[in-house]
Symmetry: C2
């Protein structure tokens, strides 16, 4: 390719702005105040102002994680990078781990664990169901594990995993509990300290309602201790918390250049959460989910997960017999500017996934979606 | 921490906007059009419009890398993540590699190589100097290597590494050449295809002048072949190109949620480059660098790297005897809103690093910096 300019600008038109109503599993819609924050000119990643902002962001992250954990930061990557950070830092080659799999993201966790040399035992539940404490207990009785990984909010199924007793079971056996809160943090209680979760991670683009690109994560005292006691270096340089924490901690040692603008967005998104208050935010997510569920059932649709274990942030709806998955989603997008998602993995073609997360969780969005679905499905 | 709202908004003030003149090693300043692009509402990561945008972004990246390589994408992390992607994908445990170290980022590469199980041989040059083809040849003669890694533009020293003959040497011996172009891409020719670089990576926040958070990378035919022939899975899930390429390629298989807004910014930044044209852009970087060099020498300052091997994007200036590094930088920031950087590693306290990258590379910034420095140093 010549280095003369062969690119008439007309090949590369200006960015379009589609007014999408984002009701999939993320990214969720972004509040105008957050969008404005992203248009701010940058400061450097070691600028005294940015360092101040890092401290405030960490405090606000502790608020949403409901934790006092010092090591609470946004990973400079998406939720999957945060998942990998939990694995890379807690697992050494040869470690025994237990992964609980009841959906796509449990499978992903298992895959990552194997890449880091863990000896993985997995227990399975059908997609959409959740684990009982005794299932975990039994598995740990058969083979103890240094780390147990479980998904709080399965984005692929819409199931919500109760964690209190499982945390007890894991700790009684001396293990560390890693929890995936990608689709719950900011939309429902995660209660890191109360439950005793050792490593909990999430993503910016779900209920925190900030553009994708950051993966908030928190490490509790037992996890920090395990990190200190590692015999081998963390196999992943970019996600090595022994290095990353020196940038976010008092040393401020350069590791990688923090994504300044993404952190501006996160700060503004977290400010919106603090202003609303977690309790109010959770209630809003619940109310709009209930409105959605009632409306979907009125349309004769079946929700995949029983209400008891249903996420308020993500609902899996069974696609009715004879209805074409893609055709419906295409019409929603083209005619109404609404995005919902299809199923992942074994749920492909079987369910739609409707997200009501963060700024997307609004009554007007629910009513619009129900009206559009009614017209398309009739 | 209670989940009631203990956070009066006053603890978390609105974002400030400091009019920083960013003349450090990155982030560079961001063009207002790019900032505006970041304020655009989001579409989903599988939205037909986003997929169109991904294709156009890949084409534009090929233009700046001067390559026809199909596998040319932005990694969803910073330049260091792109460095790690090059290592993780090209190296398998037990592979012999040669790392050329003449600065901080060569050392980082060595560290990463070791984490991925490579048997690392390193050759060294004093910081600020560059390698000759015969040094590389000799090292490969002593011990052949599957991969040779070298830094084109050492951000820690301001040295520019000639690559044509070294590429020849590496390929004659059957090796793969990884090149770090973090501080050169978009500011000077990188000529991936002409030189025959197998893997070349960069970062969004240097001469591309887009906020940090993406790491453009390109894999040539030999590198793609090596990726296909791997005997082991890539040890890093997030950066596994065998998976990532399925999202950026025709399959569009979900891997991780692309950072939508960062990609908007990259697209707009690349459009600005296509409009200016690479030749013009390189000339602008050169002219402003020469203006800076002449001005610094007029102030009696010594440039660390001889002109022949000096980067136009980053200049290392020796801190004069008796001048306090931090004090000068603090005054530049506080009195003039100018950011320059100190030295990294063994250059700490010894040099200042002045970047003129992308939108920061403007005559007015050079004149301002020289004026401010003159007043502070006199």
């Amino acid at each position: 390719m010549s280095n003369a300019n062969p690119h008439s600008t007309s090949n590369y038109p200006e960015l379009e702005s589609y007014p999408r109503v984002l009701l999939g599993p993320g990214p969720s819609m972004v509040h105008p105040r957050v969008l404005r924050a992203m248009a701010a000119p940058l400061v450097g990643h070691l600028d005294p102002y940015f360092i101040e902002l890092m401290d405030r962001t960490q405090e606000l992250l502790r608020y949403v994680f409901e934790t006092e954990n010092g090591l609470t930061i946004p990973i400079s990557g998406t939720g999957s990078a945060a998942m990998e950070a939990s694995v890379a830092n807690m697992v050494e080659p040869g470690d025994s781990v237990l992964v609980c799999i009841n959906g796509y993201f449990g499978l992903r966790m298992q895959n990552m664990m194997e890449r880091y040399g863990a000896i993985v035992e997995a227990i399975q539940r059908p997609w959409g169901e959740v684990f009982t404490p005794s299932e975990v207990k039994q598995a740990l009785y058969k083979r103890p594990a240094k780390v147990v990984a479980i998904v709080h909010a399965e984005t692929s199924t819409g199931a919500k995993q109760p964690l209190d007793e499982i945390s007890q079971v894991v700790h009684d056996q001396g293990g560390l509990l890693i929890v995936d809160a990608v689709t719950s943090l900011g939309g429902m209680p995660v209660r890191v300290d109360e439950i005793g979760i050792d490593v909990c991670y999430s993503a910016s683009q779900k209920c925190l309602s900030v553009p994708p690109g950051l993966g908030p994560i928190t490490f509790g005292p037992r996890a920090v201790e395990a990190l200190k006691k590692r015999k081998t270096a963390v196999a992943n340089w970019y996600l090595d918390m022994t290095l990353v924490q020196k940038y976010w901690g008092p040393e401020r040692t350069y590791h990688h250049t923090a994504p300044i603008t993404s952190n501006y967005a996160l700060y503004e998104g977290l400010r919106l959460i603090a202003e609303e208050g977690l309790d109010n935010r959770w209630a809003r997510h619940r109310e709009n989910a209930q409105l959605l569920w009632a409306g979907l059932e009125d349309l004769g649709l079946t929700l995949h997960v029983p209400e008891e274990h249903r996420l308020v942030s993500l609902t899996a709806v069974c696609i009715p017999e004879g209805v074409e998955d893609l055709k419906v989603r295409k019409r929603l997008l083209q005619e109404y500017n609404i995005e919902i998602a299809g199923g992942l993995g074994e749920f492909k073609g079987k369910v739609w996934r409707i997200g009501l997360m963060g700024f997307s969780s609004r009554k007007e969005n629910v009513v619009l979606l129900l009206g559009a679905l009614e017209r398309i499905l009739k």
